[in-house]
């Protein structure tokens, strides 16, 4: 069958074609620009000096669990820090996320709140931990505050993205009944975004257990302190045991939270 030449196939719009070209060009430029500063040229060393790594790694092959009770207790403290840090971040993150959503708050509120949340998010947990160790002293509470503040920024951003993607029609339905602005949010938006919020919250909890394992390095409680001391003292066997404890804990929490998410969503 022949095709009539009179049928016109519309060409790909120029904006779309150049957009793709621009995307790949920018990516290439970024990678080239970062090549030397990031010392990517050292990549061959991974092969030529593999023997060094093997020797170092072999030190970990015989973990020493003699002090496992201490490791377990410190690991639990780490989990406790993550629980409270995540809880506080969600509790305060909900109002902040609503204030950072274009479909809830006016622009003159949204922009300042977002910049504030950017600050919380941009500064690493370890930096906050140092700050709070100075303020409230050594120990897990400094860790809780560090997890809380850093995650407040992350949770607010994630939650507000869910709010902005919510369907406006149920909100209009609630508005038409003569409800207040707050009630529009409570009945129109929150039920819609709740599954996403729960899912994000659980994911952040997992991440925070992982993140909290290093807070001990600056004295903010948990298993990090033990880990760091053993690495610095070249106690490979003990370090290996601690790392195994961390991996098992993170895996267990991962499994539980995955199950929970399936039930909740």
């Amino acid at each position: 069958m022949t095709t009539a030449t009179s049928i016109h196939v519309p060409p790909v719009p120029a904006a779309q074609r150049y957009g793709q070209l621009a995307f790949w060009s920018i990516l290439a430029v970024l990678l080239a620009w970062s090549f030397y500063p990031a010392e990517i040229y050292k990549a061959p060393l991974l092969v030529t000096d593999a023997g060094n790594m093997a020797r170092y790694a072999s030190g970990f092959l015989s973990p020493n669990f003699a002090d496992w009770k201490i490791y377990a207790a410190e690991m639990l403290v780490t989990v406790n820090i993550a629980i409270w840090g995540t809880f506080l971040a969600i509790l305060f993150g909900i109002p902040f996320s609503l204030l950072a959503s274009n479909n809830v708050a006016p622009a003159w509120v949204v922009q300042p709140v977002r910049r504030l949340m950017d600050c919380c998010r941009a500064i690493n947990e370890l930096v906050f931990a140092v700050l709070f160790v100075v303020a409230v002293g050594l120990g897990p509470f400094a860790g809780v505050m560090a997890v809380f503040i850093h995650n407040l920024g992350i949770i607010s951003k994630l939650f507000s993205e869910a709010v902005e993607a919510s369907d406006p029609r149920p909100v209009e339905g609630i508005r038409a009944t003569g409800a207040t602005r707050l009630q529009e949010v409570i009945y129109g938006i929150v039920p819609q975004v709740m599954p996403l919020w729960l899912s994000y919250g659980l994911y952040r909890f997992e991440s925070n257990v992982r993140g909290a394992t290093v807070l001990g390095i600056v004295g903010a409680g948990g298993i990090g302190q033990l880990l760091f001391e053993n690495i610095r003292g070249f106690y490979y066997a003990e370090t290996a045991a601690i790392m195994i404890v961390v991996v098992i804990t993170v895996a267990i929490i991962d499994i539980i939270s995955q199950r929970l998410r399936k039930v909740l969503v």
């Binding site: 009179s6 009944t177 409570i186």
Partner: protein, 282 residues
Amino acid sequence: MPLSAIRIERLSKTFSSGKRGLDDISLTVGKGEMVALIGASGSGKSTLIRHIAGLVTADRANGSTISVHDRAVQDQGRIATNVRDIRREIGVIFQQFNLVGRMSVLTNVLTGVLGRIPAWRGSVGAFPLTEQRAAMAALTRVGIAETARQRASTLSGGQQQRAAIARALVQGARILLADEPIASLDPASARRVMETLETINSQDGITVVVALHQVEYARRFCQRTIAMQAGRVVFDGPSSQLSNERLRQIYGSASEELILPDAGEVRRPAPIPEGLAAAVAA
């Protein structure tokens, strides 16, 4: 007692795109009337309803005003400060039902009382038992009481629309604005919803304004029809006078969209574009 339920004077709306959504509309709807709003897609039916409900503002023209029960909803493009009080008297039914899918049907219906009970009660979800009973009564009335504890998203389209009507009933609305309530429903559900609206109108004396896409439903359920085209009112009178002939006079070939094919009219197939005809022939 005021005689008019809705009074609109010199209402115009220009969208940000520059398109004229409503063009100098003036009309009055009496208390207890059931009025159909007819027009093709984009003729301004939905826009008009959203203006009456105070969900959007009109152009800031002099003398432009909408009042409901003699209280201004908006005046010269400004929403009244007490609009929440007025909204309580206006129930709105939407084409897509606008229920909250993850909440139970009962809770969805109960949101109708939010404007009537203290704000803190509504905000924490402590609905008084009398209101819960009223909500159940409304659900019984629209015939879906058995679904009360189900999530709204599990209901069929017709059931969801009836739940939305129950919400408006619980709200104690004196005016019901329905924005194409049956456009996403199958014919049986559509008839059921229209009958429910008719019952509410005749038994409770609630004023009903219903935007419809097809004229058959207007003729069957509404005494009066207002027909719109390009943001203007082009017909306002008894539905019985709006024959297919009259529709064709008003809308020309666009009238086909407003007449159901099973109304005795056979639609001719659209002519095949030239290029395609050539391709098929070759």
